[in-house]
Symmetry: C2
Subunit: 226 residues, 2 copies
């Protein structure tokens, strides 16, 4: 009988990381790129998706929608004729404030992975815990609303630090706010040097084309990070 | 030797509830009323406190400030010459997205309980977990920004349901938003019938006097719920 030694490293992967890697392997096998989209409540994730999902060139997309309760956002996105799967963190998971890798894993059988190129996971609205749980994504996008104030990168640094793209939303409101955009972008740069930023307004449409093109690029295998 | 029977009820109190009651007992002994203030990130808790804390009639107030990292809000409030104690949930507690009763308990020795009538606890910006953890408060206030959309009571019902007062902030932005105020108030009523609501703008000052008076009343022993 052969013995196999398993080395338990001090930085042994926790359960979430292990499951996230299993998810990622499934996504890779199906050649599906995955975007994990996060923000504070009401920053505009769903509105920004509504703006672009119907027209992603030839990219076939599905959405995995995370909410504590209900399916308000999923219902909105389903009208775009995009496959939407809902995860509620309340009944099954005890009111969790984030998606974790195991919740996403439980949804994989419901996802049409063989028929899509891109999966967008819309996380629970929260700037803390979603950043702590990888779910098998290729890239992370966060939406920051200018109505939230320019100090948010400093107060929730992990969220801003772990994202490849920061969508600065609701810029149509800038004339009506005491919001220092330069200071905000400086704070983003401070916690995440070189992070991509797109200024956007889901309401006015400004920046939406740039966001759409970013998402199309994210769906291309070559564009995904190793 | 006398034997004491301890009945373990099926709904045995969990550790957080036990500690919250211990906090509450300490606050009661010192005759201090406690307001737990919660909201999504950037809804305006600190700005609304800045507006009123310097002028609460004869009420002596202190603030317990909860943040994942940093002391930006505490620094702002300290300029009002109000005693401010900072709790960071990151270094000591592992990046928690809420205050719990034990964190507040750890801060009690730093609080000037004998010299105040009112303690305002500014919770971590998050609409999910803070609602699940009582910390020993008498009343709960949540701030909802109109920039967050009218669906929030339905998406985060526990938060709206467990508050005595909903401060509807940033109403100066209403002319610039697709926000249905009646629908929002209907949604609040749906999850928390009879909840008090104050429409307010920390920026324009509208509603601030009503908010100030509410806080003064909350500090009076007679006004506190049993």
């Amino acid at each position: 009988m052969h013995k196999t030694k398993i080395k338990i490293a001090e930085d042994a992967l926790d359960a979430n990381t292990t499951i996230a890697q299993a998810n990622r392997a499934d996504f890779d096998r199906a050649e599906v790129r995955v975007v994990n989209m996060m923000s504070a409540p009401g920053a505009g994730k769903t509105s920004l998706l509504e703006r672009v999902l119907h027209d992603l060139d030839d990219v076939r997309v599905a959405v995995l929608e995370g909410d504590v309760q209900g399916s308000l956002d999923a219902d909105r996105l389903a009208t775009l004729h995009v496959p939407v799967t809902q995860i509620n963190t309340d009944p099954g998971f005890g009111g969790e404030c984030h998606l974790d890798a195991n919740m996403v894993r439980s949804a994989i059988p419901s996802l049409p992975l063989d028929d899509i190129d891109l999966l967008v996971i819309e996380n629970v609205g929260n700037l803390v815990c979603p950043a702590e749980f990888r779910v098998g994504e290729d890239v992370r996008v966060m939406v920051a609303s200018v109505a939230e104030g320019e100090d948010k990168p400093l107060k929730y640094p992990l969220m801003f630090r772990t994202c490849e793209l920061v969508l600065v939303n609701k810029i149509d409101l800038l004339p009506h706010l005491d919001f220092d955009l330069d200071r905000f972008l400086y704070n983003v740069e401070k916690v995440n040097p070189g992070a991509e930023r797109i200024l956007v307004s889901a309401r006015s449409g400004e920046g939406v084309e740039e966001w759409r093109e970013w998402l199309v690029r994210a769906a291309a295998p070559a564009a995904a990070p190793a």
